[in-house]
């Protein structure tokens, strides 16, 4: 259990960022999809730029993780159907609830119990996918 504490702390850090940046607010998600402000685009662009810098440095210097293992960032399977169709369905839910999976739990912590049905829906949707996955185009 003690091994998990660093992950709880990293999650706490992430939760605070999500709340304070307002990326976990329906209002900011609506503003983004209505092109009303640079705010959300700026957050995503800076995060991706910094991530890409880390990725390039990790590959260039063959950096190792804290356990001494080489850092491997797995490639997603090739294809496009599952990414486009799954992405479309996810985007519909993201804009409807104003929350992606992380912020669902950030908002629960902030006291918005209305995120309970969103979390339950997330579980049901995942379960449904697991049941019919082989019938879907990938």
């Amino acid at each position: 259990m003690l091994r998990l504490i660093p992950y709880v702390l990293a999650g706490t850090f992430f939760g605070v960022i999500m709340y304070k940046s307002e990326a976990a607010s329906w209002y900011r998600i609506q503003e983004m999809f209505r092109f009303g402000s640079f705010h959300m685009y700026g957050i995503i662009m800076v995060a991706v730029a910094m991530g890409a810098l880390g990725y390039l440095l990790i590959n260039k210097f063959k950096l190792k993780d804290l356990k001494g293992q080489p850092i491997v960032i797995p490639d997603k399977a090739p294809g496009w159907k599952r990414y486009l169709l799954g992405g479309l369905i996810f985007g519909l839910g993201w804009a409807l609830t104003g929350a992606c999976p992380g912020p669902v739990f950030v908002n629960l912590g902030a006291g918005f119990l209305a995120m309970l049905p969103v979390a339950l829906g997330g579980l049901l949707g995942t379960f449904l996918y697991g049941l019919i996955k082989d019938k879907m185009p990938h």
Binding site: E31, G91, P101, G121, T126
Partner: protein
């Protein structure tokens, strides 16, 4: 410093802190992706008996569940100790506020719109709307193999074409919901 932290955080600072989280997870030897937790929780509830997709050792994902618990704690701390009394109220663009008012949403008075996320969320149609929205999120993220953290942050940062396609899907779906379904549903 305290004043900076209790204000809404600017986009450049927030983005850099998300980037830092991604680095931390890489150096911990993990791939950052939040929605996998839904699959893990299905498995913990016994879904492995219903579908092979859930037949895996959920204990390998304990670190991600710990991250989820942390994110919930972070939401609590940010709302109660790093924000004004009653929580942070997003100061969104005035034009967008006008558009939202036309759909029946009052001027922001809380972190989330109280029309949906207020105390009577379990009454009327709101409960079903939120449940349905969650269903789309859960189904879509597993179908596309990731959510905003796994595709938009991790995937784009590591130059993966599938993640770019997924993110284009996220935006196309979000724009359709916002500009076509919202007016139809609420207009």
């Amino acid at each position: 410093m305290i004043e900076f932290l209790t204000q809404p955080w600017p986009w450049w600072f927030s983005g850099a802190m998300i980037g830092l989280t991604l680095w931390l997870m890489w150096f911990a030897g993990k791939t950052f992706g939040f929605s996998g937790n839904f699959r893990t929780m299905c498995t913990m509830c016994g879904a492995g008996k219903a579908a092979n997709f859930f037949a895996f050792d959920w204990k390998t994902q304990k670190w991600n569940l710990a991250f989820l618990v942390g994110a919930t704690v972070g939401g609590y701390l940010a709302a109660h100790f790093l924000s004004p009394e009653g929580g942070q109220i997003p100061a969104i663009d005035a034009g967008v506020q006008g558009q939202l008012q036309a759909l029946g949403f009052a001027t922001p008075a809380a972190y989330q719109p109280l029309e949906w996320y207020g105390e009577d969320w379990f009454l009327g149609g709101t409960l079903w709307l939120l449940l349905f929205g969650g269903l789309l999120i859960g189904f879509g993220s597993r179908y596309s193999g990731g959510c905003t953290s796994g595709h938009a942050i991790t995937g784009l940062s590591s130059f993966q074409l599938p993640s770019l396609i997924a993110v284009i899907g996220f935006f196309a779906g979000g724009l359709f919901m916002t500009h076509v379904i919202y007016p139809w549903l609420l207009g």
